[in-house]
């Protein structure tokens, strides 16, 4: 999906998922490590922590999409 959107539509993609080695293997370019396999985009159980985690991931994604890259890049910060 990530590769096809970039290739055929020419739209840059930020890929958020948990297992970074798989994202590197499948050819994602802008990679953001998610939280855990069953809940990559949040921390269920504690509303405050969940909200903070979601905001952080969202801000990191915006940063990644606006950063010029010339190779596969993992955005840890």
């Amino acid at each position: 999906m990530v590769r096809e959107i970039e290739k055929t539509a020419g739209i840059p993609v930020v890929h958020i998922a948990t297992i970074v080695p798989i994202m590197l293997t499948v050819g994602s370019n802008r990679i953001i490590p998610g939280i855990a396999i069953p809940h990559p985009l949040g921390k269920p159980g504690n509303d405050e922590e969940d909200h903070a985690a979601r905001r952080k991931l969202c801000e990191r994604a915006l940063k990644a999409i606006t950063t010029k890259i010339d190779k596969q890049t993992v955005f840890k910060e």
Partner: protein, 430 residues
């Protein structure tokens, strides 16, 4: 550690007035066996049925399969942490009812349960078409959470398997195999000399919660750091399946008890290799967990002085990263690796079989493509509920033909691509 597996061959199973073995026939006192679970409030209905090799019988949906075993001599009891206490097992003598199995069946716990056929082409895919099966059938109590239901069914299956063995302690023994090796690394070196290559077995166990779990001595494996066990402990039921991974590649308790990698390495210890032991490691649901377990596995292998590691996978998808990390990190530490796993290559076999790859994973034994389609002819008797195939991974509502024929991916068959190699199929490079 020295373990003698005393095997009584079970050639038939029948209902009887007393649970016992007599001239190769396992008799089950149904009322007595069911009374074991009379206090279990998590089920509203309990029943048992029998299935024998060659019969026109299909069992579905199957949760776990367990070989009846109990201790005859030595410390502890088989299935430690569930039956008896937590003493270290693996020494002494163990009764094995070879050719018998307890099969747990109930309305589906998760989409990832499967079927067992007692005759026809389905028997090619697992050992259970050739065993005399004592099926435990349950109905969960209304409103019970899936996790509780899984726990209840798992515990019930283990209790029934142990109960059957326990009632057959005086069974005539048809075959006895002794598995003996020194406890320490030094002792093993003395047994093997300095020329034999030093092997460890890295057993990856699914450990992710959400019905994807394994227990070791009663401890939930997702709570452990990788740890060391002697092979005989595994034969005594130290590892218990608690998972609902795809039917084809979830390691049943039976698979752990009969792990072919463990058995083969034991058989060759002192002959052409030195088997240092088993590293039980995890397949976690976070990246940091996977990294930690892989790093720790390498450290344990190095502390033992291993030169070769055989790695087995459980499940597919994200555990592919665990096999890649373990192969890469071990190879970089100078330890040669071989991985045993399966493939998810699509029904035409043309897709990439693994979700993750790495150049260091340079020796891979495939136990088959889980997406391969198979046609299973109708059976005269169904134990369980045939409609479950609609919700089993590898099947759907169109899988059942009007005459009861099932067309599904082999992933719907329990143990069909078992990644310990406990099956008859595999792939060849073409």
């Amino acid at each position: 550690m020295k373990l003698e597996l005393r095997q009584a061959f079970v050639r038939d199973v029948q209902w009887g007035e007393k649970t016992q073995m007599k001239e190769g026939v396992l008799f089950i006192d149904k009322a007595d066996a069911l009374s074991l679970l009379a206090e279990e409030k998590r089920f509203t209905h309990l029943d048992m049925d029998l299935a024998r090799p060659g019969e026109s019988v299909r069992i579905i949906p199957v949760k776990d399969v367990i070989e009846p075993r109990c201790k005859l001599e030595g410390k502890g009891e088989c299935f430690p942490g569930f039956i008896g206490g937590s003493e270290t097992v693996g020494n002494g003598a163990t009764l094995v009812l070879k050719g018998a199995a307890v099969v747990t069946v109930g309305p589906i716990v998760s989409i990832q349960e499967g079927l067992v056929d007692m005759s026809g082409p389905g028997t090619e895919y697992n050992p259970y078409g050739a065993t005399c099966n004592v099926c435990l059938l349950v109905q969960p109590a209304a409103g019970i959470e899936k996790k509780e239901y899984e726990t209840a069914l798992r515990e019930a299956g283990i209790r029934l398997a142990w109960y059957i063995a326990d009632k057959c302690r005086d069974a005539a023994i048809d075959r006895s195999d002794v598995y003996e090796m020194a406890d320490s690394v030094e002792g093993k070196a003395a047994e093997c000399g300095s020329n034999l290559p030093r092997f460890v077995y890295v057993c990856q166990a699914i450990s992710q919660g959400l019905l994807h779990d394994t227990f070791l001595y009663g401890v939930d494996v997702k709570q452990i750091l990788p740890t060391l066990v002697q092979p005989q402990e595994i034969m005594d039921g130290a590892m218990i399946s608690a998972n609902c991974v795809s039917a084809c590649d979830k390691q049943n308790t039976f698979h752990h008890q009969n792990n072919p990698v463990v058995m083969e390495l034991c058989a060759r210890h002192g002959k052409d290799l030195n088997f240092l032991g088993v590293i039980v490691t995890t397949e976690m649901m976070t990246l940091v967990g996977k990294i930690r377990s892989s790093e720790y596995t390498v450290k344990l292998a190095q502390m033992l002085g291993a030169q070769v590691a055989i790695i087995t996978e459980e499940g597919c998808g994200n555990p592919d990263t665990d096999i890649c990390m373990n192969a890469k990190n071990l190879e970089l530490a100078g330890i040669k690796t071989v991985v045993i796993g399966n493939e998810v290559a699509g029904q035409n076999g043309a897709s990439q079989g693994l979700a993750d790859v790495t150049p260091e994973m340079n020796a891979y034994v495939s136990c088959g493509n889980i997406n391969e389609l198979v046609e299973l002819p109708p059976m005269k008797k169904i134990i369980g509920d045939i409609r479950a195939i609609a919700n089993v991974s590898g099947g759907d509502e169109k899988s059942i033909g009007s005459d009861g024929t099932i067309v599904c991916e082999i992933q719907s068959i329990i143990g069909s691509t078992n990644e310990l190699g406990c099956s008859k199929i595999g792939c060849e490079w073409i």
